[in-house]
């Protein structure tokens, strides 16, 4: 029985009331006097030299007030992390269909569109590169202006070196050697990218953006606008979903409107249409894997050798880091004697790739969980039982050789999904099905997922907490909430640690002027790192209040008991929160604190491919059951059972929501989200072609949070928002493999893939893209 009053109990999204009433203000809902609307000129071709750009004709159009291009930014608006290969607006070249070239601000959207049309832009097409496997071949078109590693289209390389797999594999009784492919995935957040810039009288600018990280945005603006940090303020608007997708393109969009706002002296707003968003924004990287696994005669995994090719598209974005996460998870949540992983990230002209929920582990789990399933099959073993035999437990070493020194709930997850899905009976029964048209299958997948940034960088967060004059509390964090509930979680943590009613706590949205930089809101770090920072702040404030209470009650601070919000002495004299605050102020205490928490230093040697990649891990397993029409490919997902070990759950409805939502994205990734490029042109330009699951496409879901306590997380919590999506696609692929007796080794498993093993290529992509950009061939 929990002795916590808030954490772990039903709660609701702290910004939910405005949202359900339709009063929440997203970027596109904000309307300011004198506001101009911006429109973007984008490249209609995948690869070209920007030979001529004349903006003057645009400025002559009625209603057009200003226009900007690369030359209007410091150092041509160069930006990008970890590789600085991108620009606010294209400089010298365009590298993918949708690459932004210029932006026009006008009185109306129509006028802005007319202005865009008037721009004279001559593009000299260059040969395009569309197959990542050709990117490093001699004679391949060179995409970057400056090769990041001095090696043509190579963006980054990542390696893992744990032992020596070759000799081990040579001695293995069973060796699997197969290739797998995962396609791109579109975030498809319901709200498209957008930003609104408001110029200040003193030459500064405030930007409201639906970006992922306001501080990174602010730093980029400082850099590309060439103005000092105290003149740039970024406020995060209410964000309509992100899933990792509103990084780079969010900062580009912000810079575009900021420059126009400074030029015109008027607010400027830019919101992307869905077509623009689908063409211009980055995608989950497409990856190709070559997996070699070796097991002994007892079915014990011994060694793995994995090679990964990641399609970064036109720009690096976060792909080098996603490729690192993919690499250090590539062999899965199992024990090995030796593992080597070699990953190459390459440029192509296929859109561009960056962060998306799971950040490389979605792809790695999708692949390795199919591979081990095939291996188990060849061993003649039940795939779930085989996983229980080989999966990680506390005290084991992971595939990078790092010691797992904390609680590991993976076997509990596997056992839970096994029991609740009725796995044993179904797996056996479906293996014995008669060869009829409609066949069933049941499949499993499991994962481990490193928490937070790991080897990617310094990992800390800061929270501030202050008691206001009206006895409310203001809590800030540099980490952001785009719907996944981080602000709610922090509010709950603060309320619990302070012993106050959550309603007393007010948490404004991140604002570079009042919050404190905390790194990006990515990598499943929000609850642990941000939550710990919140808890540190709350404990500091609690310490001050206890001092005051003890002083007022005539006892030691440590002897003050809490009953609800009351502070009670051993002699049972009680004070309200307000009384304690007043007394604290009389004592001269300042009730404003800052809490910082940093992940203990971990060392990963990128050159050697060795070290400890993460501070801790989370784990999980999912089972999916399908009914497949083997002739048409039509698939009904009958059920999903999901268990996740992410430590204590703070916000129960939020955690469940992440799980349901992640599973839905996994279903889409596995079965219907077909983000492909045909010679650089996206197959789909809107949500009528790019299909995400509807309410009728998701099955009943049984879910379970295995709450293995983790001492170093806030109230024992780790995290869950990302990883809960990553087992769904391979579980479905494995279920379909049982139902169809075919293994396609590619995602998504569209109808054509399921039936033919060939995705087929619909014609007309170029025309659709051009139409979407108001152009005609």
């Amino acid at each position: 029985m929990s002795d916590l009053h808030v954490v772990g109990h039903p709660f609701w999204a702290i910004d939910g009331v405005d949202k359900v009433m339709g009063r929440a203000r997203y970027v596109g809902d904000i309307h300011l006097p004198e506001m101009l609307v911006a429109k973007v000129l984008r490249s209609p071709v995948p690869h070209a030299r920007l030979a001529r750009l004349e903006m003057a004709p645009a400025l002559k159009m009625p209603g057009v007030v200003a226009a900007v291009c690369a030359d209007d930014f410091f150092e041509h608006g160069s930006l990008g992390y970890p590789v600085k290969d991108a620009f606010v607006l294209a400089h010298e070249k365009v590298r993918y269909v949708g690459d932004p070239i210029a932006v026009v601000a006008a009185e109306t959207e129509q006028a802005a569109q007319d202005g865009v049309r008037a721009i004279v832009c001559d593009l000299e097409e260059l040969p395009g590169l569309f197959d990542v496997e050709q990117a490093s071949m001699p004679g391949a078109p060179l995409i970057p202006l400056v090769p990041p590693l001095g090696k043509g289209n190579l963006v980054a390389e990542q390696i893992v070196r744990y032992g020596e797999p070759r000799p081990v594999l040579d001695g293995c009784e069973f060796v699997l050697d197969e290739r797998y492919a995962c396609n791109h995935q579109e975030h498809a957040y319901l709200e498209t990218e957008g930003a609104l810039a408001v110029p200040d009288e003193d030459g500064g600018v405030t930007v409201y953006a639906n970006d992922q990280s306001p501080f990174i945005n602010r730093d980029n603006l400082v850099m590309v606008l060439g103005i000092p940090p105290d003149k740039v303020r970024v406020i995060q608007a209410v964000v309509g979903g992100s899933f990792g997708g509103k990084d780079d393109i969010g900062y580009q969009t912000s810079a575009q409107v900021a420059a126009l706002a400074l030029k015109t002296g008027r607010p400027v707003r830019l919101t992307l249409t869905r077509e623009e968003s689908m063409l211009a924004s980055y995608k989950r990287e497409a990856m190709r894997y070559h997996v070699i696994l070796g097991a002994d005669s007892d079915g014990q995994l011994k060694a793995a050798k994995v090679e990964i090719l990641a399609d970064s598209g036109a720009y690096a974005s976060m792909t080098p880091l996603a490729a690192w996460r993919a690499s250090v998870h590539a062999a899965g949540a199992y024990r090995y004697e030796a593992v080597h992983v070699d990953t190459q990230v390459l440029y192509t002209n296929n859109g561009y790739s960056g962060a998306f929920r799971g950040f490389g582990n979605t792809e790695s789990v999708a692949v390795i969980e199919q591979a081990v399933d095939e291996l188990a099959d060849r061993l003649g073993e039940d795939p779930l039982a085989w996983r229980l035999k080989n999966c990680l437990r506390q005290g084991d070493r992971t595939m990078t050789g790092a010691l797992l020194d904390h609680e590991v709930g993976l076997t509990r997850c596997l056992e839970w999904v096994r029991q609740h899905s009725d796995w044993d009976r179904k797996r056996t029964a479906y293996a014995r099905q008669a060869p009829q048209d409609i066949r069933r299958g049941i499949g499993v997948a499991c994962y481990f997922h490193g928490s937070s940034l790991g080897g990617e960088g310094e990992d800390y967060a800061t929270a501030t907490l202050e008691v206001e004059d009206d006895f409310s509390l203001t809590l800030t964090s540099g980490l952001t909430d785009f719907g996944q509930g981080s602000r709610t979680v922090y509010t709950m943590i603060a309320a619990e640690a302070l012993g106050v009613e959550p309603q007393r706590i007010h948490m404004p949205r991140p604002d570079t002027q009042i919050s404190v930089e905390s790194g990006p809101t990515v990598a499943s770090r929000a609850t642990m790192v941000g939550g710990n920072a919140t808890q540190v702040a709350a404990k500091k404030l609690d310490g001050l209040l206890r001092k005051a209470a003890g002083d007022a009650l005539g006892c030691l601070p440590g002897d003050v008991a809490r009953f609800g919000e009351k502070y009670v002495s051993p002699s049972e004299n009680a004070l309200d929160f307000e009384e304690v605050v007043k007394h604290a102020r009389q004592m001269g205490l300042v009730l404003s604190v800052r809490g910082r928490w940093q992940i203990p230093t971990i060392e990963w040697d990128f050159e050697q491919g060795t070290g400890k990649p993460y501070f801790c891990y989370v784990f999980g397993a999912q089972v999916a059951e399908v009914s497949l029409d083997t002739r048409t490919g039509h698939t009904e997902v009958l059920g999903v059972w999901a268990a996740h070990d992410g430590g204590r759950i703070i916000y129960p409805q939020g955690a469940a929501g992440q799980m349901f939502g992640g599973i839905a994205q996994g279903i889409g990734y596995a079965l219907m989200e077909d983000m492909r490029f045909d010679r650089g042109y996206s197959l789909h330009t809107n949500l009528d072609g790019y299909l995400v699951p509807t309410a009728l496409d998701v099955p009943p879901v049984d879910l379970k949070f295995i709450e293995e306590p983790f001492e170093q997380g806030p109230f024992g919590a780790r995290n869950l928002a990302e990883p809960v999506m990553i087992a769904t696609a391979p579980a479905l692929a494995n279920a379909l493999a049982q139902a169809s007796s075919y293994r396609r080794r590619a995602l998504p498993l569209t109808h054509e893939q399921r039936v033919l093993g060939d995705p087929l290529l619909p014609p007309g992509s170029r025309q659709r893209c051009l139409t979407a950009m108001d152009l005609n061939a």
Partner: protein, 171 residues
């Protein structure tokens, strides 16, 4: 052209060009930003409003088409004391709100469903919201919220789990 219609129980008259969509009219002329643009091709339901009792995609309607009609938007679905109504509260209780961008559309579609069917089973609820896309929640808790509300409005406790599966997950 002049467009005259009943908006959330009040008569309004506005001037708009014939090519203006109902969505644009609501958001930009009338300042009601609850209905959202998300695809603008009638695929996602984020722009849903109710016209003459039927839920429709306002991005696929011309403003001119509602002349003489009754339009209800999410802003019209408030409780008497200007707070969330019972359905909106159920969304909050069930954890059905994450980023919230799709939420007004779902609220409208669910109200339209419940107006026609006061006792929908979960499959019927899913059919009633099948024209609304959500990328965050996976729909489960949205269905819970609608089911809870239907039961409350019918005046007795629901047979299912109140508070949705979030509780089960921690059992």
């Amino acid at each position: 052209m002049k467009i005259h219609f009943d908006l959330n129980g009040q008569e309004v008259e506005v001037e708009a060009s014939a090519s203006t969509t109902l969505l644009t009219l609501l958001r930009e002329t009338l300042g009601l930003t609850g209905a959202k643009p998300a695809c603008e091709v009638g695929e996602c339901g984020a722009c849903s409003v109710i016209v003459d009792g039927r839920v429709v995609d306002s991005c696929l309607m011309l403003a001119a088409q509602v002349d003489g009609r009754r339009v209800v938007t999410v802003e019209g679905l408030v409780a008497a004391q200007d707070g969330p109504n019972d359905l909106q509260q159920a969304f909050l209780d069930a954890g059905a709100v994450q980023c919230g961008y799709c939420t007004p559309g779902f609220i409208v579609a669910a109200e339209a469903l419940l107006a026609r069917n006061s006792n929908p089973n979960r499959q019927e609820i899913r059919q009633g919201i099948a024209g609304n896309l959500c990328r965050c929640t996976g729909y489960h808790q949205i269905v819970d919220a609608v089911e809870m509300t239907a039961a409350r409005r019918r005046g007795y406790k629901s047979q299912g789990n109140r508070g949705g599966h979030a509780k089960d997950a921690l059992a």
